[in-house]
Amino acid sequence: MELLTASVGSYPKIGDGPEAQRHRQAYSRWESGEITDEEFESIQDQVTLEVIREQVEAGLDVVTDGQIRWYDPVSHIARKLAGCEIDGLLRFFDTNFYFRQPVVVGRIERRESVLRREFEFAAAASPKPVRAVIMGPYTLARLSIDRRGAGTRALVDEFSEVVAAEVRDLVGAGARFIQIDEPAILVHPEDVNILARALEHVASSSRNAEIAVHFYFEDAGKIYPRLLDLPVDCLSFDFTYGENLLDEILDAGCDKNLGLGLIDGRNTRIEEGEKVIEVVRKVVEVFEGRRLYLNPSCGLEYLPRDVAFRKLQNMVRIAERIREEIA
């Protein structure tokens, strides 16, 4: 068994010092037409390199591109699809972050690859493996307005084709770690069969890469045993919503790889090592997979940048202690 430290999504685009405002300033100049798309793109490239460097410096084994180019995790995918329009702002689950809601007006189809170029850019620049992250078909469908009236199932089917094609592209580009986010299933646990079917479609196009599904913003305990049947390699969880999840894992065990989101991506308090280690110790007892991850509970954009960095550093230190103990 190995233990890796990983990022699971976004990283703050700006910091607090005057030198860390580059993205915000460029965004505002781009919005008012003072700089071109290409100039803004080049700033986003630079900031992407910067946040990859920060994650590497913090000591992570697996990084992300920080989603610096993303307006939000939903519209970043949906805005490039045929059949989708982008509507007004809506609160993203129980956070104080807002996303633009897709409106489905026709058959959903991919016009072009959404993430491949972003992944290739990050992978070429990173000394550590880059985890590609994409919002999953069930959550994309749930967070969209269905103007066609064809129903959630049809939406999930069409979005799952899109996500499957993205995964194929990412694998083709050399991605070895791919993460599909499915927070919405925790709000609608009754739909776990729909999720399973959608992921079968996605997983069939993913040889040679580890497919993880990440669940967050609710306690996943109530459907944990069902998730063990999902056709994916790794299950990844937000542990900040209660104790139920841990109990269920200890009860049902785990034969897949497992992402332990024990680092709170939504609170500035730095974790106490001993508490995290205690949970990992218990999980290791029942764990039958090959690989454990220690990671934040969600993307880090809910935190100020300096805190995000300190959290990752602290997480790496905790992982080192766990490795010593296990070895």
């Binding site: 700006i14 965004y27 104080n96 972050f97």
Partner: protein, 332 residues
């Protein structure tokens, strides 16, 4: 609840009209706030202009004929940060993105939260001194303060929320002692995690209001209460101020199914739209509300604070609202 109002010495007409809290800050005040933040004018000069703007909004509300007034919150920035700055135990975070290119700073609970003295009482007294009509005391509620802050001190959300409730109880007591008879507790975040309502949000509201003789209103925004209705009626307040103008019909169906048992302020003017509603549209909304609540339960106000509208839009919307209410009153 009419009896409670009468016992407090408040003789309000049927369908009392009010507003949710904030009004737009005039240009001179926005400029003064900017200069003050840059250290270019002192706090006394800023205060003078805040008072001037408050006077102007009190006059505007009187002229419109509103029944229950607010101070307009000329002296507040963010509704959570304002209280965090005036309570012990809080710091302020670095920048966090809310959407697009918008960033803000969040309160951070770093130690024991304590009330160190009146926060809003002076402003309430100032505003009430300008009018005979009742002015509402206005605070941000404990659940929303907790949900919108980072918590580095308390072991759980519950502990943080209840500590905030104890501190805010002191503020509510001070407002009542100064003479406020109507106190509004804003809880836009109340349904962030619906299961926390029975777990501790109701208890927190009880802690804030318990033993204080005032008519309590709580303001909850759209996209919030349908997840916690009818359980939400257990919150120990007299009046729920709800954002309803964009979901009027759904609510009427909901209230048919589970009757509304307390007083309700129906938000009948959309604060997110520049369009000034005409009197007839608002009148129709009031009549629809009256299909499911009794006239003696109903208050009328805009959906939310008006601070994002211009002064002209705000006044236009309120004028239409007051006229609509007058015409419905005559027909009851």
């Amino acid at each position: 609840m009419r009896k409670k109002l009468r016992d407090l010495g408040l003789d309000l007409p049927l369908l009392p009209t009010t507003t949710v809290g904030s009004f737009p800050k005039p240009a001179y005040l926005q400029e003064a706030r900017r200069l003050h933040a840059a250290g270019k004018i002192d706090v006394r000069r800023l205060r003078e202009l805040e008072e001037k703007a408050t006077r102007e909004w009190i006059s505007a509300q009187l002229e419109l004929g509103l029944d229950v007034l607010v101070d307009g919150e000329m002296y507040r920035g963010d509704m959570a940060t304002y209280f965090a700055e005036h309570l012990d135990g809080f710091g302020i975070s670095g920048l966090v993105r809310s959407y697009g290119n918008r960033y803000y700073r969040k309160p951070v609970i770093k130690g024991e939260v304590r009330w160190r003295g009146p926060i809003t009482v002076e402003w309430w007294r100032f505003a009430q001194g300008l009018t005979e009509k009742p002015v509402k005391g206005m605070i941000t509620g404990p659940y929303t303060m907790m949900d919108w802050s980072f918590n580095e001190f308390y072991p759980s959300r519950r502990d943080a929320c209840l500590a905030l409730a104890r501190a805010l109880h002191e503020e509510v007591k001070a407002l009542a002692k100064a003479g406020a008879r109507i106190i509004q507790i804003d809880e836009p975040a109340i349904s962030a995690r619906p299961k926390e309502l029975p777990e501790f949000a109701v208890e927190a509201m009880r802690t804030v209001t318990e033993g204080v003789n005032a008519y309590f209103i709580t303001h909850i925004c759209y996209g919030a209460f349908e997840f916690i209705y009818p359980q939400m009626l257990e919150l120990p307040v007299d009046n729920f101020d709800l954002e309803t103008s964009n979901s009027n019909l759904d609510l009427v169906d909901l209230f048919r199914k589970y009757p509304f048992t307390k007083d309700i302020s129906f938000g009948l003017v959309d604060v997110h739209s520049h369009v000034v509603e005409d009197r007839r549209t608002i009148e129709a909304r009031i009549r629809r509300a009256l299909e499911v609540v009794r006239p003696d339960q109903l208050w009328v106000d805009p959906d939310c604070g008006l601070k994002t509208r211009t002064a002209e839009e705000s006044i236009g919307k309120l004028r239409a609202m007051v006229e609509a209410v007058k015409s419905v009153r005559e027909s009851i």
